[in-house]
């Protein structure tokens, strides 16, 4: 597969390490009343869709960016690649 890195252009997927669903960005609030339940769901439950999937890839043999790749799990087609940091900020993560 080829991943079009937003900064570096097309790179072979072999340069990357895969992690999983990009929802791992949405780490729950540790002080929430229901933190235990939320962290369990965050840590263990997955949508695992057959189709479009936003997922985290780490450019391990490259610039060490974490990327959010939108990829179809049925066809492996990739429609979008973003810096995970930008996605995280857009989802309201900060410090």
């Amino acid at each position: 597969m080829i991943i079009h890195h937003p900064l570096l252009g097309p790179r072979d997927a072999a340069e990357f390490t895969y992690m999983g669903d990009a929802k791992l960005i949405d780490r729950p609030d540790w002080q929430s009343e229901t933190a235990a339940q939320e962290f369990y769901e965050y840590g263990y439950l997955r949508d695992n869709p057959a189709g479009w999937h936003k997922e985290l890839w780490f450019h391990e043999a490259g610039d060490r960016s974490w990327l959010v790749v939108t990829r179809n799990t049925l066809t492996h087609e990739i429609s979008n690649v973003e810096l995970a940091r930008d996605v995280a900020r857009a989802r309201g993560r900060s410090k």
Binding site: M1, D12, A13, A14, T17, Y18, M19, G20, D21, Q37, Y40, E41, G43, Y44, L45, R46, D47, N48, P49, A50, H53, E55, R71, T73, L74, T75, H76
Partner: protein, 416 residues
């Protein structure tokens, strides 16, 4: 019809006119006591044991395509019970014992061949871990033997012991491990279940569950609604897709695992060998092909096919320990979809929906589990309590922190 050598001879002499279909092709009935979704190894085995061991009636297996078309038809055929953890080892040992009597039980030669499995060791830490594992196996009643480098050299002179980047420092052998003709497992269970009255319905895709007041009443299918008192799902690889129809999110990701077979070769490998410093394991089928595999491609996929980097990675591992392989040819590569669970261990449990039961999360270890998985799922379906060897395979183990993590990789499925 009973199969036997005598029957084969008789048919051969009378023009093979007496052979009948191995299973019927029935129309689905309106209502069953049990519906098993998934005509793979686990689903067919569950139906077989429900009928045979638990004396249940009115059972149907619904299969989207053709039976045995999922992972039971595309795996690398290895059976073993060389597990470490308490939650696993008794279950897999139970499975191995069922394998040992399977063919006589089914009256079907699935070619269960206990040719032995050898896990190679390449570091002291690995040896420590394998000694712990071998001891756990023996303490659970399984067999295990520690082999020295010299013993391995003697038995497998073609392994790279002269120029290895990661020298072989020993190996953990399980002589009762081995291989089984994978398709025949599905067919044998199907035939056995059919003989006991189970309706095996192919080309019948489940499109939804009918759930009212927290109770599952049956399934919507491509051939209409079929009612059931209890519905068991055994569709590993597609678990996420199926259970989403019941609005369930699972502790499972779907990943592609590739496997490979070489052209046919005269016998070179007596048993199964697993490389401990790379991703490669290999056995030789009765037909002569070297059947081998390695690691997951690593990304979520339902595509049943993989990519070149993994092919190369596996073959590199092969060449590293078995340098004569270079002149054998890879004949075919294929991919199967694994239910990769969050701790690398399966789930056989009730769901929160009354009457809906789940069997999945087999990662890439489902084939060897087939008999015990079927048996334990049948036990759960028939009695509503887990089989004693499968008590740990609960949904809530993640919530409670009772993971069964053989590899110690944590909640990242592709690392198991």
């Amino acid at each position: 019809m009973r199969y036997s050598g005598f029957k084969v001879i008789k048919e051969a002499l009378t023009g093979h006119k007496g052979w009948t279909p191995a299973w019927r092709d029935p129309e689905p009935q309106a209502q069953y006591d049990y519906i098993i979704i998934g005509g793979g190894g686990h689903g067919l085995a569950a139906a077989y044991y429900l009928a045979k061991e638990f004396n249940q009636k009115r059972i149907a297996v619904l299969e989207k395509g053709w039976i045995g078309g999922g992972n039971v038809g595309r795996n690398t055929t290895i059976i073993r019970s060389n597990y470490l953890l308490d939650g696993n080892e008794p279950f897999y040992e139970f499975s191995l014992k069922l394998w040992e009597g399977l063919e006589q039980d089914l009256n079907y030669n699935a070619m269960v061949s206990q040719r032995g499995i050898l896990n190679l060791i390449h570091s002291d830490a690995q040896r420590d871990a394998f000694i712990r594992r071998g001891n756990a196996m023996i303490l659970n009643g399984a067999d295990a033997e520690m082999l020295s480098t010299e013993q391995i050299k003697e038995r497998y002179p073609f392994l790279n012991t002269l120029d290895a980047r990661f020298p072989i420092k020993g190996g953990l052998a399980q002589h009762r491990g081995g291989t089984v003709r994978h398709d025949a497992v599905a067919w044998g269970y199907a035939r056995g279940a059919d003989t006991r009255g189970v309706d095996i319905i192919q080309n019948c895709e489940v499109t939804g569950f009918r759930i009212e007041n927290g109770k599952c009443l049956g399934v919507e299918t491509s051939r209409g609604f079929i009612g059931a008192n209890k519905v068991g799902c055994a569709v590993a690889g597609s678990s996420g897709r199926l259970m989403a129809k019941a609005d369930m999110r699972l502790p499972i990701e779907s990943h592609v695992l590739q496997a490979f077979v070489s052209e046919g070769l005269k016998p070179v490998l007596p048993g199964v060998i697993t490389f401990g410093a790379g991703h490669f394991y290999v056995s030789q089928s009765d037909k002569g092909g070297l059947v081998f595999g390695g690691d997951l491609d690593g990304y979520n996929s339902y595509a049943q096919r993989g990519n070149l980097p993994t092919v190369e990675d596996v073959c590199e591992g092969g060449m590293a320990i078995f340098p004569a392989l270079g002149r054998a040819r890879l004949l075919r590569m294929w991919g199967g979809i694994m239910d990769m669970s969050m701790d690398g261990s399966p789930i056989i449990d009730r769901t929160h929906i009354d009457g809906l039961y789940f069997n999945g999360g087999w990662c890439y270890g489902g084939f060897k589990a087939t008999p015990a998985s079927g048996f334990c799922f049948a036990h759960l379906l028939a009695r509503d309590t887990p089989h004693p060897t499968a008590t740990a395979y609960r949904f809530d183990r993640f919530e409670k922190g009772l993971m069964i993590d053989e590899k110690g990789m944590g909640n990242q499925p592709n690392l198991h």
